[in-house]
Amino acid sequence: MTAQTLYDKLWSSHVVREEADGTVLLYIDRHLVHEVTSPQAFEGLKLAGRGLWRVDSVVSTADHNTPTDHWDEGIKDPISRQQVETLDANIKSFGALAYFPFKDKGQGIVHVMGPEQGATLPGMTVVCGDSHTSTHGAFGALAHGIGTSEVEHVMATQCLVAKKSKNMLVQVNGPLAAGITGKDVALAIIGKIGTAGGTGYAIEFGGEAIRSLSMEGRMTLCNMAIEAGARSGMVAVDEKTIDYVKGRPFAPGGADWDAAVAYWNTLHSDEGAHFDAVVELDASDIKPQVTWGTSPEMVTDIDGSVPDPAAEADPVKKGSIERALAYMGLTANTPVKEIPVDIVFIGSCTNSRIEDLREAAAVARGRSKAASVKQVLVVPGSGLVKAQAEAEGLDKIFIAAGFEWREPGCSMCLAMNADRLQPGERCASTSNRNFEGRQGQGGRTHLVSPAMAAAAGIAGHFVDIRQL
């Protein structure tokens, strides 16, 4: 048998049928559902008199619209409330394997909740009406975001109409330097290949640096595969994967566990498997990353400066830099360390897991928020992450530093709830997108790791966490 990549294996094991033009029906094992991209899909099912093909494939939670404070007051925004209540009603009427509604202790960001419940398993196909579904590829799963029409299609047929992507290997060689996280690796990769560099590809991340990352770090990395243009990112299964999954509520047990582990251990690219593209990075070159512009590829490191559009020859790129600097309120050649911040956001499906909060707390411990910083928001990814952080006393460290400790949800990553930037406010954010208006109209986002965000909140501007 010819050598296969991890993606080849995941793909071929889910093909139900294939047309002459290569279009396939791809079987979906896990369907994660949240309130924003599902109402029109459920409505479509109702209109056509259809039900869910497989109720026990659906795991759901409300995350985008939920507030992160004053839970006793419910959801104040009536349109947000209607969307969350619509999900409640749809799950009640259509069913699900599990549902974690607003205020439930298992509620959280869908991409934090899935793995921590063991609802994401190696070898699965995982979809969700959310582009950051690539997160789940950290488990050696084939996971990607879909649109609402596809959400409805999966609900009704358990399949997606799909075409295979090309294979890309991103190999990060050598050990990571101290303090360098999955976030820095992700941003360094995007800086190298660009936000369209992975378009048309499924990316496998490999190499010593990737193997050394925890499952949380791998989730952060795969989460941002979409920011490199790849719908799915993935990491081969190893002992860390299996240790993470073991004992979780929806993980297999008993004899099934041994059979599952035996299968999961085959989920890696074979020696000599063919990749259509290979990108290599040297881990020792990766320093703490900071974005300066309005696209994740507009990134430099903590020793860098804001670029000068005059130095760019390509007129489209030059125009993009000029527009980004104008939007961001930045002057060419400004050192990153001299950029002050107004707000800090630590959270999102990229960086709100327990390890992220530990890294931020390690920086915040015994220190205080700068007087010039208006607010530092710490938003855990789920109710379970929140409980774990509180058991470890992290909440007390944050509160003592003048940070705000909130309830779980997507929060200021996309500002669908009340947590948002005001026009002109500058934010050090652990989220995934620095697009114009992403965190609030006119808001200015700099993407960084949790430790870098916490450090910016304490210093009032970006600093090198390696020198703290």
């Binding site: 139900v16 049928r17 002459a20 033009d21 279009t23 029906l25 079987y27 924003v36 991209t37 029109q40 259809r50 497989r54 026990d56 985008h64 619209n65 925004d77 349109i79 209607q82 619509t86 398993l121 699965m124 582009s131 579904t133 990607h144 879909i146 649109g147 029409s149 596809e150 409805e152 299609h153 009704a156 047929t157 358990q158 109409v161 992507s165 936000t195 369209a196 378009t199 979409i226 243009g229 790849a230 719908r231 099934d256 566990w257 059979a259 599952a260 299968y263 696209s295 489209v316 125009g319 993009s320 527009r323 996309l414 669908m416 997108r433 697009f435 114009e436 208006g437 992403r438 109209q441």
Partner: protein
């Protein structure tokens, strides 16, 4: 789904790379539980001078006179000409819904983000990839000539300029078939229900933990 066969449409040029779906339809409009009515909020933050929220009367909001969609010469445009990596970012299908609701039927760009590209086909919106030099030429011609229209023929897979120059484009057979016929993809897939059930039964046998 709405069928697409042939269209001769006015072209609107949007000269920016990496136009993301947050720009196409900002998040506050995603709170709707409907799939229509997003057109007036297409490119909301670029199109209006004030901050938009759901429920506002968009007809009385101050328009940004510098944004291309507001130029009188592009009123009624059905073809959007765009730059590389159009539709990057979130998977929100509200982006193609908003383009469709505004009246666009075709988007031409050198490249598209994968999820957006896929979402377009589900809504009778045709995304067409053309080489960067062709897109450059179309931008030049469109900006030089008021009333510039392109004829897009899906069956023939061609774009024809006002001077009769013809460019061809690629599309998979499956997508072409669905788009030409305006077919219900779920209905098509359910024609293979027995095959899905057989696959599922074998999978349940081999990996029972996935069905626990």
């Amino acid at each position: 789904m709405k069928a697409f066969e042939k269209l001769a449409g006015l072209v609107c040029p949007l000269d920016r790379a990496n136009v993301d779906t947050d720009a196409i339809i900002p998040k506050q409009f995603l709170k709707s539980i409907k799939r229509s009515g997003f057109g007036p909020n297409l490119f909301d933050e670029w199109r209006y001078l004030d901050h938009g929220e759901p429920g506002m009367d968009n007809s009385v909001r101050p328009l940004n006179p510098d944004f291309v969609l507001n130029f009188p010469r592009y009123a009624g445009a059905q073809v959007l000409l765009a730059r590389e990596n159009f539709g990057c970012g979130s998977s929100r299908e509200h982006a193609p819904w908003a383009l469709d609701d505004q009246g666009f039927r075709v988007v031409i760009a050198p490249s598209f983000a994968d999820i957006f590209f896929n979402n377009c086909y589900k809504n009778g919106l045709l995304p067409i990839v053309q080489p960067a030099e062709v897109v450059d030429q179309l931008f030049r011609e469109c900006e030089a000539q008021e009333g510039y229209t392109l004829t897009v023929d899906l069956a023939a897979q061609t774009i024809t300029t006002p001077t009769g120059q013809v460019f061809s484009f690629d599309i998979t057979e499956h997508r072409k078939h669905c788009l030409l016929g305006g077919l219900d993809e779920i209905g098509l897939t359910l024609q293979h229900a027995e095959q899905i059930k057989a696959y599922e039964a074998a999978r349940r046998q081999a990996q029972p933990w996935l069905f626990a």
